[in-house]
C-alpha cells in the first residue's frame, strides 16, 4: 500500500544493492555538482562584474596609485588582482632597477598572477565535465545490472508475464534517469563556465600588457 503511494520511489525498496550503490553515487555526484555550480556561478559572475567596473575606472583615471586604491574595492575581480600584483612588484623595485628590468619583472609578476587567476577560475570545473560524461554511463550500468537481476528472477519464477517483468525493469530504469538528472545540469553548467572563464582569460591576456605599460609610463 505504501509502495503504491510512493510510486516510483516505492520501487526502490525492492532494488538490489548494486542499484542502490549506483544511485547513491549518482546522488553524491549530483550534490557536489550543484555545489560547484552554485559556488562557481557566484565566483565567475562577481569576477566578471568587478573586472568590468575596474577596467572602466582604470581607463578613466590612468594613475596607478589611484587605481590601486580603487582596486581594493574589487577584491574578487580577476583583473584588479592582476593589477595589484603588478603594482606590488612595481613598488618593491622602486628606483633600484632600470626601465628594461622593471618592465620584465612587472610583466613576469602580472603573468604569474594571471595564470594563478586562470587556475582559480577553472578549478572544480573539470568535475562538472566528469559528471556530465560519466553519470549517464554509471546510471546505465545500474540499469543493466537491475535488468540482469530482474531477468534472473523471472527465470527463477518461471513466469514471463508483464506483471513479473515490468516492475524490475521500471526499477532498473530509475538508475538511468538518475544518471541523466545528474549529468544534464553538469554539462550545461560546464559549457556556461568554460565560456565565461574564456572571456575572463581573454581579458587577462589583453589587459596585462596595458597594466605593464601603465606602470612603466608612470612619471
Amino acid at each position: 500500500m505504501v509502495d503504491s503511494y510512493l510510486g516510483i520511489f516505492g520501487l526502490l525498496s525492492d532494488a538490489g544493492p548494486v542499484v542502490l550503490f549506483v544511485l547513491s553515487v549518482l546522488l553524491s555526484f549530483s550534490i557536489v555538482s550543484w555545489a560547484i555550480i552554485a559556488y562557481k556561478f557566484t565566483y565567475v559572475r562577481k569576477s566578471l562584474s568587478e573586472s568590468r567596473a575596474f577596467l572602466d575606472y582604470f581607463f578613466e583615471i590612468y594613475n596607478v596609485d589611484k587605481v590601486f586604491v580603487e582596486s581594493e574595492k574589487y577584491r574578487k575581480g580577476s583583473l584588479p588582482r592582476v593589477f595589484r600584483s603588478g603594482y606590488v612588484e612595481y613598488h618593491a623595485l622602486g628606483d633600484k632597477a632600470d626601465i628594461r628590468q622593471l618592465r620584465v619583472r612587472i610583466a613576469r609578476a602580472v603573468n604569474r598572477e594571471a595564470n594563478a587567476e586562470s587556475k582559480r577560475l577553472s578549478s572544480l570545473v573539470p568535475f562538472l565535465a566528469t559528471v556530465g560524461n560519466t553519470a549517464p554511463f554509471i546510471g546505465l550500468f545500474g540499469t543493466v545490472w537491475g535488468i540482469m537481476t530482474s531477468f534472473h528472477n523471472i527465470g527463477k519464477a518461471q513466469s514471463s508475464s508483464l506483471a513479473a517483468v515490468a516492475p524490475g525493469i521500471s526499477e532498473a530504469l530509475i538508475a538511468t534517469a538518475a544518471g541523466l538528472a545528474a549529468a544534464i545540469p553538469a554539462v550545461m553548467a560546464y559549457n556556461y563556465f568554460t565560456h565565461q572563464i574564456g572571456i575572463i582569460e581573454r581579458d587577462l591576456e589583453e589587459f596585462s600588457p596595458e597594466f605593464v605599460a601603465a606602470f612603466i609610463n608612470e612619471p
Binding site: Y5, F9, A35, I36, Y39, L124, S161, L162
Partner: protein, 323 residues
C-alpha cells in the same frame, strides 16, 4: 599568509554551498515523494462512493441454483427471504411482500438484488434467452445507487437499518404468512421443475446460493448449473497464470472491473466469452480476453457436471480474479 587565508575562505564558502546543495536535494526528493503521495491520495479518493453490499439474513440466491441445477437448497432459517423461488427473480419475489412495509426510498438500495449478482453471473444459463445477460449486467445497478451514495452516504446506512428493522418486524408479526409464502414458493418451484422435466434431486446447498449447485438437465438446451467449487478454483488459477497484466500500468485502478462469463464445453474448450461489464481500460479488457483465450482448453469438466456445457462467471479486477 594572505593567500592561505583566501584559500580557507574559499573552502569554507564551497563547504557552505555543498551543504546547501545537499539540503536542496533532500527537499527535492521529499517534495517528489510528497507529490506522489498526494497524487496517490487523489486517485484513491474517487468522487463516486461505492455502496457496500449488506447481506440480509437468508438470501434467496440458492433457489436459482436449485431451479436450474435440479437440486434443492437447504431452506434458510429465515422464513420470508427464501420465498424467492424462481430462478433469476428469486429475491425479487420476496420483495413484493416487503414492499408495502418499506417505503419507496428504501426499496432502492435493497441489497439482496446486489447480492444475487455474482450468483447470476456464475450460474445463469444464458442460452435460454437474450434476457438473462441483461439481468446479469451489473453496471446499471451501481450506477443507480451511486448518486444517492454520493449525496447521502449516511442516509443509506440509516435506510438499510430501517429496512432491516422493518423486515424483522414483518417476520415477527406474521410468521405464519411467511411460512405460507415459503410453502407456496416451494410448491411453485416443484411444479416448475416437474413441468420442465428436470429430475428433482435432493441435495445440500448453501443458503446463499453458492456455486455448488448440481448438474443441469442435459439435452434441453440449457447449459449446466454452477460447476463445483474445486473445478472453478482450478480454472481460476489456470486463468490467473495465463493472465499477463500489471496494475502498475493502470493510472487509476478504481472501478476497474471486468465481469465476464465463459461457456465451457464438456471437453474443457472455452466455447464463448461474454463480457457482461467491461472496464474503462482497454488494456485490462484485452488482457482478460487474451488470458481466457490462452487458457483454452481448460481441464475436462468433472463427471458430475454431466456431458453438457457450463457457464462460469468471473470478476477480474487489477488485484486478481474474484470468483
Amino acid at each position: 599568509m594572505e593567500k592561505g587565508q583566501k584559500r580557507i575562505d574559499a573552502e569554507k564558502n564551497f563547504s557552505l554551498w555543498l551543504v546547501a546543495a545537499a539540503l536542496m536535494h533532500a527537499v527535492v526528493i521529499f517534495l517528489a515523494i510528497y507529490l506522489q503521495i498526494l497524487d496517490a491520495n487523489r486517485i484513491v479518493k474517487p468522487k463516486i462512493v461505492s455502496v457496500s453490499i449488506v447481506s440480509l439474513p437468508g438470501s434467496g440466491g440458492s433457489f436459482e441454483v436449485s431451479a436450474k441445477g435440479g437440486r434443492e437448497s437447504a431452506p434458510a432459517p429465515e422464513a420470508p427471504h427464501p420465498a424467492g423461488s424462481k430462478k433469476s427473480v428469486g429475491v425479487k419475489e420476496a420483495l413484493p411482500e416487503l414492499a408495502p412495509v418499506t417505503p419507496k426510498k428504501e426499496a432502492k438500495p435493497v441489497t439482496p438484488k446486489k447480492e444475487t449478482k455474482p450468483v447470476k453471473i456464475k450460474e445463469k444459463v444464458p442460452e435460454a434467452a437474450p434476457a438473462p445477460p441483461k439481468k446479469v449486467a451489473v453496471a446499471p445497478l451501481p450506477a443507480k445507487a451511486k448518486p444517492k451514495a454520493v449525496d447521502k452516504p449516511a442516509d443509506i446506512t440509516k435506510t438499510l437499518e430501517r429496512l432491516k428493522q422493518n423486515v424483522d418486524k414483518k417476520m415477527a408479526s406474521s410468521p405464519s404468512t411467511s411460512a405460507g409464502s415459503l410453502n407456496n414458493a416451494l410448491a411453485r418451484l416443484q411444479q416448475k421443475v416437474q413441468s420442465e422435466g428436470h429430475p428433482v434431486s435432493t441435495g445440500s446447498g448453501s443458503g446463499k446460493g453458492s456455486s455448488s449447485g448440481g448438474r443441469s438437465g442435459a439435452g434441453k438446451g440449457y447449459g449446466g448449473g454452477g460447476p463445483s467449487a474445486p473445478y472453478q478454483a482450478e480454472i481460476a488459477s489456470i486463468i490467473m497464470q495465463n493472465w499477463e497484466f500489471s496494475k502498475l500500468l493502470l493510472k487509476n485502478s478504481y472501478g476497474m472491473e471486468v465481469y465476464v462469463r465463459i461457456n465451457i464445453l464438456a471437453n474443457g474448450t472455452i466455447n464463448k466469452i461474454v463480457f457482461d461489464k467491461k472496464a474503462s481500460s482497454e488494456y485490462l479488457n484485452n488482457s482478460v480476453k487474451k488470458a481466457l483465450e490462452k487458457s483454452s482448453p481448460l481441464p475436462v469438466l468433472p463427471k458430475q457436471e454431466g456431458t453438457g456445457d457450463v457457464w462460469i462467471g468471473f470478476v477480474f479486477t487489477p488485484e486478481g480474479i474474484e470468483k
